[in-house]
């Protein structure tokens, strides 16, 4: 008989090993999925994980994409991880990402075609504020009315999507666009454009912001009282209450910060790789970032690696779509599977597996 015995403390070793095991298990299960779809599993796995980086034909194009895709994922996941640690579940990062992009693009388009150095910083501010404000809605409803932040933040994603559609068709529509939906392309507006900083690397300001966020989150969690409170509230909510941790402040801080970071990610995306507000501007980074946060063990450095790995599956997925005709949805299912295996693996971190009958105590 197999039974589980709770460890007195979570195992450090398993904390590091389980993400690797999960990736391995996902590759095996994913391979089986691809085999069912009639693709050679080994070729598919190689196309997803190896070719984007090392294939001579594609690597030159897809390597820079790694940072372009990892930037927003890491930025959003860092914000989410702080809340997840404290048991505050912001799962509406997708909405905050959209609102950040709308606010940032709105500022840029308001100044169009003025060329001035203050425009881009102002856009960054607007993007962060937009995301922050959108996340404050579930935050304030939680602290004032005890409303479930999971449901409110998620439902607001759909509201944000509709708002974006209305903006792309109305207020922010390109007046010279011949009536097509979508805003002006910010790539053609140098003062507002978030261009590649080093040619051929994919490095843009959003990636820089993501790296800064990783460093700050690390310092916050390990060296700052707020970080300590976050960890305490997550591990021992009762102890946190007795220790005088202000729950209201904690909720507003975590939701606000994650919203601001998601907003920033949206702004850097709309000003850079995407270029414009369109009806289908958002591509699900806000949801994939949830997987990134867990895969990175809610730890800033872990999230950095997890973000890069998840970006790789995005690029590899596109490549597999193009090369093997693997459906785009297969990658989505693949990413979901990864989270399953990861959560399943956590049992090894928190419990010992004992085989044999329990002795009577």
């Amino acid at each position: 008989m197999i039974r589980l015995e709770k460890r007195p403390e979570p195992s450090q070793a398993w904390t590091y090993v389980t993400p690797l095991l999960a990736v391995l298990a996902t590759m095996i299960a994913g391979g089986m999925l691809f085999a069912i779809l009639g693709k050679d599993p080994f070729v598919a796995i190689r196309t997803i994980f190896w070719d984007p980086l090392f294939n001579e034909q594609f690597a030159a194009f897809s390597r820079p994409q790694l940072l372009v895709k990892a930037g927003p994922l890491i930025l959003i996941a860092i914000g989410l991880s702080l809340g997840f640690r404290a048991g505050i579940w912001n799962i509406g990062a997708e909405g905050q990402y959209i609102i950040g992009a709308l606010c940032g693009a709105g500022v840029a388009l308001a100044f169009y075609p003025l060329e001035a150095v203050f425009i881009f910083p102002l856009m960054i501010l607007a993007g962060a504020l937009g995301g922050w404000a959108w996340a404050m809605i579930p935050g304030l409803l939680k602290t004032q009315f005890n409303t479930n932040e999971i449901l409110v933040s998620l439902l607001l994603v759909y509201v944000a999507e509709q708002l974006m559609a209305s903006m792309a068709l109305g207020l922010l529509r390109n007046p010279d666009g011949g009536g097509f939906p979508g805003s002006r392309n910010l790539g053609d507006y140098p003062a507002a454009s978030n261009e590649e900083l080093i040619a051929g690397t994919g490095m843009h300001w959003g990636v820089v912001a993501a790296f800064i966020a990783v460093i700050f989150a690390y310092i916050l969690l390990n060296r700052h009282r707020m970080g300590y409170n976050i960890r305490l509230a997550g591990q021992a909510p009762r102890a946190a209450r007795f220790a005088g941790v202000n729950a209201t402040r904690l909720v507003l801080f975590c939701l606000g910060l994650s919203g601001a970071l998601a907003g920033l990610a949206g702004l850097f995306e709309v000003a850079g790789p995407a270029g414009q507000i369109t009806i289908d501007f958002n591509v699900g980074y806000g949801f994939t970032a949830i997987i990134v946060a867990f895969l990175g063990r809610l730890h800033p450095v872990g999230i950095l690696f997890a973000g890069l790995l998840m970006a790789l599956t995005y690029i590899g997925g596109e490549l597999a779509q193009f090369m093997l005709g693997l459906p785009a949805a297969a990658i989505q299912a693949f990413q979901g599977m990864l989270l399953f295996f990861l959560l399943a693996g956590d049992v090894l971190t928190n419990y010992r597996i004992r085989i044999g009958r329990a002795e009577v105590a």
Partner: protein, 310 residues
């Protein structure tokens, strides 16, 4: 704007159709939560049910088999959640989210071959005499079987929870799993059954969307219906009849805003489309603002993992 183009009788009949998917998903989730498990994967199970039901119905040309397939598909997906949370003791919130992400992916994958395909038509019941009664006939007696089945499930759940031993055990497990365990009830097994029931109901709700309400398959077609179902359980304070009320209220808002769009109200379509979500949030706020009442009705062990140490 031409409000006279809105026919109140058709509106109420359409309301029932719009509410049924959410009603099915919500009543399933109510049972799951009554057993003390918070499954946030309703959206994923719904959309998986939508495509499983659609695929089976198209292949067999039989909508009834489609609905059975949808229930099985939803239940199968929910058992992944059950295995992870009940046997491997994973975090319920995170696992529920994973279920939604996975469900959206796998459904899009299965659904590729079915884009643009027309499903077989689910016939409306035509009850002699009753269907022909003016006003009441079109509202109450000209629906398909699933509408009546959903009402039957609500009544069944209400009766089960309130008057039977099974319901009592289920509630005991949800209120205090340690006490239920000490009394010798199989907490994990009971919860697994509840989770499977919730998954089957969510699957049926999804299939109602893809086979009757829309009826065709598009990726992500549930568009938050699963999340609204979760909100309705909170709105209902975990009471079956209030779930019915909440779902029909929500259906009413959905249908009304669609009718206002058609009637050409001077509000952009996007703002009308977001109204169901905003009103759901508003209702959630109102229901949770009264702390004492909200706390009284929620199952005490909701979302807490159970690990029998002895």
């Amino acid at each position: 704007m031409d409000l006279s183009s809105i026919d109140p009788i058709l509106l109420i009949a359409a309301l029932i159709v719009a509410a049924t998917p959410i009603l099915l998903a919500a009543i399933g989730e109510l049972v799951v939560e009554k057993a003390g498990v918070l499954n946030l994967g309703v959206e994923g199970m719904m959309i998986t049910g939508a495509i499983c039901g659609f695929a089976v119905a198209v292949e067999t040309q039989n909508p009834a088999l489609g609905f059975i397939g949808a229930a099985l598909g939803g239940a199968a997906l929910s058992l992944i959640f059950g295995f992870l949370t009940q046997y491997l003791l994973s975090n319920q919130v995170a696992t529920g989210l994973a279920l939604t992400l996975f469900g959206l992916g796998i459904s899009a994958l299965i659904g590729q071959a079915y884009i643009g395909v027309k499903p077989p038509i689910t016939a409306d019941l035509d009850i002699p005499l009753l269907s022909d009664v003016p006003v009441i006939g079109p509202i109450l007696f000209q629906h398909n079987l699933m509408v009546y089945l959903s009402l039957g499930i609500v009544a069944g759940v209400w009766y089960l929870l309130k008057y039977t031993r099974v319901g009592l055990v289920l509630r005991a497990v949800g209120e205090n799993h340690d006490a239920a365990h000490a009394l010798g009830y199989k907490v994990v097994r009971i919860r697994m059954l509840a989770i499977a029931f919730g998954g089957a109901c969510a699957g049926l709700g999804g299939a109602y969307l893809s086979l009757i309400r829309v009826p065709q398959w598009t990726e992500g077609m549930t568009a938050g219906a699963g999340w609204i179902a979760l909100a309705i359980v909170v709105f209902a304070s975990w009471k079956p009849w209030r779930v019915l009320l909440g779902a029909y209220l929500f259906g009413g808002i959905t249908v009304l805003q669609l009718n206002l769009q058609a009637a050409g109200l001077k509000i952009p379509v996007e703002y009308l489309s977001m109204s169901p979500y905003l009103i759901t949030i508003l209702v959630l706020v109102i229901m949770s603002a009264d702390r004492s009442r909200a706390a009284l009705n929620a199952p005490a062990a909701l979302g807490r993992p159970f690990h029998a140490s002895s």
